[in-house]
Amino acid sequence: MRQIERLVMHAMENEAQFKEVSGENSAPAIIVSNLVKSFGPQRVLDGISFEVRRGETLAILGRSGTGKSVTLRILVGLEPPDEGNASVLGVDMNGASAREIDDARKQMGFLFQHAALYDSLTVAENVAFPLVHHRRDLNAQQRTDRVHELLAEVGLEGHGKKMPSDISGGMQKRVGLARALALDPVVLLLDEPTAGLDPISSAEIDQLVMKLQKEYNLASIVVTHDMVSARTIATRIALMDEGKIVIEGSYEELQQSKERIVMEFLQRDLEQV
């Protein structure tokens, strides 16, 4: 009886949270303002700012080493910024207490560039990891059902007992995505989801991200240097160069730009098409 009450409470909390951030006039789920970060003498981020609301996908494009992944690491609280603020769901990911940051992380899903699956755990155990630690109200059967549901969502039914080393790079990304979705996040951060994948697997991952985005009504940021992928899944694109956002807008707005770096990216996109 208590378990049912807990489940109802959890559903009500999720619903309240959904209403809070999904309305048109709601506050942005992610606010980045004037972020600066240096590693030694190299200034990787030089005062970038942007916002992402629920239902939006912002693709951050740029050449390697322009600070795209660092931005995501700051957003999830893995790196402290030198200046500026990164706030997720109202929590300052640098200034808040460890407990507040952990509470925010429970509502965030993060897909690492190389998936970062736990190599000593099976695929199913990887997906179950956040549930084991944060959904102690679920019994073993409910947890198993949820893992099956998540694996089915990413098209990996029947692969739960395999080890991460026994599956392909594309499948590892899918497992990483299933793990990121385990706690029904509000915010999804994807670091190079299609990097190192063949065009067909990349297209499949893009379709999957779009499907999940629609289904979960997420506030998403996708870091990539793949313009095709960005054009497919993003509602807005921000192009970074030398630690700054050169331009931010829709793909059509980018096409109007005369900036050299923008034109180079668009040219490469056209060549790929």
């Binding site: 609280g77 736990y118 630690h133 944060h134 793990r179």
Partner: protein, 266 residues
Amino acid sequence: MSTNPTAVSAVHSKPNLLLGMLEWFGEFGIFVWQVLCAAIKPPFEFKEFVRQLDEVGSRSLPLVMLAGAATGTVLALETRQSLVQFGAKSLLPTTIVYSVITEMGPIITALVVSGRVGAGIGAELAAMKVTEQIDAIATSAVDPRRLLASTRIAACIIAMPLLTLAASFSGVFMGWVASTLMEPITLVRFINQGFQGAGFKDFLPSTFKTCVFGLIIGCVASFQGMRARGGAQGVGSSATTSVVLSSLFVILADVVLVKIILLIWS
């Protein structure tokens, strides 16, 4: 006037080395404090702790017993020659039992565990660090210091006295085997004679000082593993420094602990 570049770099490298050491100790102290704070807060990671206890304890048991047995055998063979020269052959059981339980058993166990477990923890955590698995744990709102470090350190602390008991047992037993092969003596007589010169006041502090050795091995190896950088080279370097530093600190701690034990128990 020309300046010898080697001399200049030597002058500069000394403060750098000192700063590096101070930085290491500072970071290590902060790490140990953070692990302690994380470890005492629920939820406790019992499943991972039991897994680590098996990894540190059960899997080290054969090697530790073998090392203990070799020590007991060599001690019996070497000591007998000296005791015979002084006409004190009857003191052989006492010498073996006292040496094994007060010093040889604990230190041999600590060095074997430092080599096997220290390298294992250092390499495993370093591999997890460079493949972003530790970051993935953190982004799942789970404290990696609680899940990975505190469980390994606790397992080392609990397993060390038990492993020391096993090493001391096999050392004394093989000491008897070696002695009786040279001059037959029953096990009961050997034990009775042996424990005439060694009692609980010798056995307890020297066995439980290995908890400190376990703490050192667990902390150093976890710290070195979790601060690894780079790829395969970083993993290798972490494993090596884990073994070297934990062995060094175990030996230094032994000197201090023996002095403290002598002060208190004498």
